[in-house]
């Protein structure tokens, strides 16, 4: 490459774990630095928004965005980076499917603000103050971003070219993704990079203990039971989401004897991960009696939506819409 490709990283509503995942590349990152010129990485480097604004449209080859979109500031930055980038990648669960912050979509903005600044156990707010986007004190105006009514995945705000799954993506997945991007064969648009195209079970060390068909009379919760470490977690009764979750993480949680919570998202061809997961869990219930089914769900899965949408509520059918003006 005569001229180094320009690369940018950005984070929205996120925890910093995706940034740590990049740092965990350690010496591998030098290889990236060798191939690319990083023009924007707020976490690690000194470039500002103006530097991005001054670039030509599509001058950046690849932008990696992690985190979901919840504030006006995040929306503006995502739109700006889309304009300046040839390829835009949603990095990690929050950017890809809304992630854990996306769980907030079950609650209104007002419920959140009321708890934080008024009703919370430890709040002491006799003057009834509340963070205000355009707040004026004396002659001076404070600006804080608008807190939107709901959380968006990045592709609900702008067009996304590729996705990198995981909460957070593992070192191996990040490295595979970068290799894929810089390889001679560019993957088709919309691909999920770096991970497996098969479900987690195919790489799970417990897979050989999993029978062809599974029928369960009850589900177990881990709060009051301990999984056996040498037997498929699902046949033990835990709602392990391995069968409907994309592989590529090397079954790290299962190796720690913990059921898969689904952070790598759906396999190819599935749009609504939670719907797929819930239909899978229903299909393994060994009963046709409605009362019995109700009882099985109530005892082991009494809030099934919480289990299947841990990382993807904003991409569920109910919420899968493009952003509107003012995040409404």
């Amino acid at each position: 490459m005569a001229e180094k490709a320009k690369v940018a990283f950005y984070w929205c509503a996120s925890c910093g774990g995706c940034e740590e995942a990049v740092v965990d590349l350690a010496e591998d990152i030098l290889q990236v630095v060798d191939k690319a010129e990083i023009v924007f990485w707020p976490v690690a480097m000194d470039f500002k928004r103006e530097d991005v604004e001054s670039l030509k449209d599509e001058e950046i080859l690849v932008t990696f965005i992690n985190g979901a979109v919840r504030t006006s500031e995040q929306e503006e930055m995502v739109r700006l980076l889309r304009k300046k980038s040839k390829i835009l990648i949603a990095f990690g669960s929050c950017a890809y499917t809304g992630g854990v912050p996306g769980l907030a979509n079950s609650y209104s903005r007002e419920e959140i603000l009321s708890f934080y600044y008024k009703d919370g156990d430890t709040v002491f707010n006799p003057d009834n103050k509340r963070p205000t986007p355009h707040f004026i004190e004396g002659n001076f105006a404070f600006e804080i971003p608008e807190f939107y009514e709901r959380v968006y995945a990045v592709d609900q705000v702008v067009d996304v070219d590729y996705y990198i799954p995981g909460c957070a993506p593992t070192r191996k997945v990040v490295k595979n993704s970068i290799d894929a991007l810089f390889s001679s064969q560019i993957p088709p648009k919309g691909s999920v990079l770096g991970a497996s195209s098969r479900s987690l079970c195919s790489e799970c060390p417990l897979n050989e203990t999993k029978p062809e068909k599974i029928y369960l009379k009850s589900f177990k919760r881990i709060d009051k039971s301990q999984p056996e470490s040498d037997k498929c977690l699902l046949i033990q009764g835990y709602p392990c989401l391995g069968p409907v979750t994309r592989g590529g993480c090397e079954a790290l949680c299962v190796k720690a004897n913990y059921p898969c919570t689904g952070c790598f998202g759906p396999v190819d061809g599935v749009k609504d991960y939670g719907a797929k997961a819930i239909s899978f869990l229903s299909s393994i219930i060994d009963s046709i009696d409605e009362k019995e089914i109700e009882k099985i769900i109530d005892e082991g899965l009494s809030n099934p939506l919480a289990i299947v949408y841990r990382y993807s509520l904003p991409k569920s059918l109910i919420f899968d819409t493009k952003i509107k003006k003012n995040g409404g």
Partner: protein
């Protein structure tokens, strides 16, 4: 003429913190504010979720310190289900926790805050980063830091599933133990960890403490606040990261309170402002008196310096030695100099490494008795740990089936938010006089800010480690009349 100065740490656009300074008519500082422009709403959206999911969901608050949230959450579940883990499980948890404290503190020392001192407060910005540190201490040391971090994080992955984010803690124990043939590797890495922490102390002493200019800076009034301090202590009032009671000492160093975390609401309250999404915790019984220090103000501080001030010593020998040396050199307890946090952090690294080694060698550590399965009906659970950035409290309430009905969290950095604002305010007042200021303010404010290792700047947990700062000076119509910045 009135001015508003906006200092954008690199994280403004990223939603993690900016500073606003207001000047009065004479051009002196009227007020300086730390503004955190982000909120995610965890306490609300966890409602209705199964309690056992909390150690999975809450680490997503912070991917830099997920282990801290995972552990505070798991401990809250113990309390919720009225169970205690068997001794080996407790030891495993405490061991993982100390591994995490060691690698996280090391990151700060070498990559983030450390460059201020190791490379030098007056060094060029372009050199005040991890690469500058490597230049100063040698490439071999750089490699040592990278490999130490990697080795510890790989063992954490083995034990707890993922390092970002763990899947391991359950009420009454953990899901995976250490196999007999894995133990040796933990001991080996722990031994290396102790050696590495002691080496870090030597680096700090050689470079920082032998330089009078640096020491004067640490001791200078600009970085001094006489506040209360909070930290966890064990039954002998010694430092502990994983468990114990919360102890608060007053600005004279005298014990002000010693309480079980279950009573945190009697002691901690949160003040709200209009201009930031972050809240400002304070000591409830002392009261909120504004952003001021002293005995009458409820402002308190957490994290390494606060923890050393709040305990009566350290239970491991090498760390105790380093602790005594720390106070001997800084004029006894308590120390009020914010920049001493860097030194305190190195002392804590030694403790974390020594405790990691003690636990790795413990005969019980390979036991398969790692879980006491709860039988009680869950009601209310409150858990606490010391995160690298301070006291971290998780409080949950559930229905009888164990589904969350209420959650309240006091997150580590948040405890420091008032004092961080005060440090910024003081630095601004010292440097802006009658409308005159120079670029030194950038440096000073940056250092005041970074000493706390604040999580809303947890973006700085990465390569170059300096916080690029841009100051826009605006007239009262908001038009920029001058811009100064600390980067090219």
């Amino acid at each position: 003429m009135e001015h508003k100065i906006t200092i954008d740490p690199i994280t403004r656009l990223e939603g993690h913190g900016k500073i606003e300074i207001f000047l009065d008519e004479k051009g002196n500082v009227e007020k300086a504010f730390l503004v955190v422009p982000e909120l995610r709403g965890f306490e609300i959206f966890v409602k209705g979720k199964p309690a056992e999911d909390m150690p999975i969901i809450t680490p997503r608050i912070c991917g830099v310190c997920p282990t801290a949230h995972h552990m505070a959450s798991t401990k809250a579940l113990d309390d919720l289900y009225k169970t205690q883990p068997p001794s080996p499980a407790k030891k495993l948890r405490e061991m993982l926790y100390n591994m995490f404290m060691l690698e996280d503190h090391a990151l700060h020392v070498y990559v983030l805050g450390g460059p201020d001192f190791i490379v030098g407060p007056k060094a060029k910005k372009s050199e005040r980063n991890v690469l500058g540190v490597i230049q100063k201490v040698g490439l071999e040391v750089g490699k040592k830091v990278i490999s130490m971090r990697r080795e510890i994080r790989e063992l954490m992955t083995l034990l707890a599933g993922k390092v970002i984010h763990p899947a391991w803690g359950v009420p009454g124990g953990v899901t995976r133990g250490i196999k007999k043939d894995e133990k040796e590797n933990f001991v080996k890495v722990a031994e290396k960890g102790v050696e590495f922490a002691l080496f870090t102390l030597k680096v700090f002493k050689d470079i920082v403490l032998s330089n009078k200019e640096y020491v004067d800076l640490i001791l200078s009034d600009a970085y001094t606040h006489r506040t209360y301090y909070m930290g966890l202590v064990d039954e002998n009032k010694k430092l502990n990261f994983y468990d114990g009671k919360i102890r608060v000492v007053d600005p004279d160093g005298k014990e002000y309170a010693l309480f079980d975390v279950r009573n945190y609401r009697d002691h901690i309250a949160e003040h709200v402002e209009n201009w930031t999404y972050i809240k400002f915790p304070f000591l409830k019984k002392v009261g909120w008196k504004g952003f001021v220090d002293g005995k009458d103000s409820g402002v308190y501080s957490v994290a390494p310096l606060a923890r050393l001030n709040a305990c009566d010593g350290i239970s491991t020998p090498k760390a105790q030695e380093a602790y005594e040396e720390f106070y001997k050199n800084l004029g006894g307890k308590p120390v009020h100099h914010t920049l001493a946090n860097h030194w305190a952090r190195v002392v804590e690294m030694i403790y974390a490494a020594e405790r990691f080694l003690e636990l790795a060698k413990d005969p019980e550590i390979t036991s398969d008795n790692i879980r006491k399965i709860p039988t009680e009906t869950p009601t209310v659970g409150i858990g606490v740990v010391e995160a690298p950035r301070g006291t971290l409290i998780h409080h949950y309430e559930t229905n009888e089936k164990g589904y969350i009905t209420k959650a309240n969290l006091i997150v580590a950095t948040q405890n420091n938010s008032a004092r961080i604002s005060m440090s910024i305010d003081k630095a601004a007042r010292n440097l802006i006089k009658e409308g005159k200021y120079d670029e030194g303010i950038l440096n000073m404010i940056e250092m005041a800010f970074r000493a706390y290792d604040p999580c809303h700047a947890c973006g700085t947990h990465s390569l170059p480690g300096n916080i690029p700062v841009l100051i826009n000076i605006r007239n009262k119509d908001g038009k920029i009349i001058e811009t100064i910045k600390n980067f090219e």
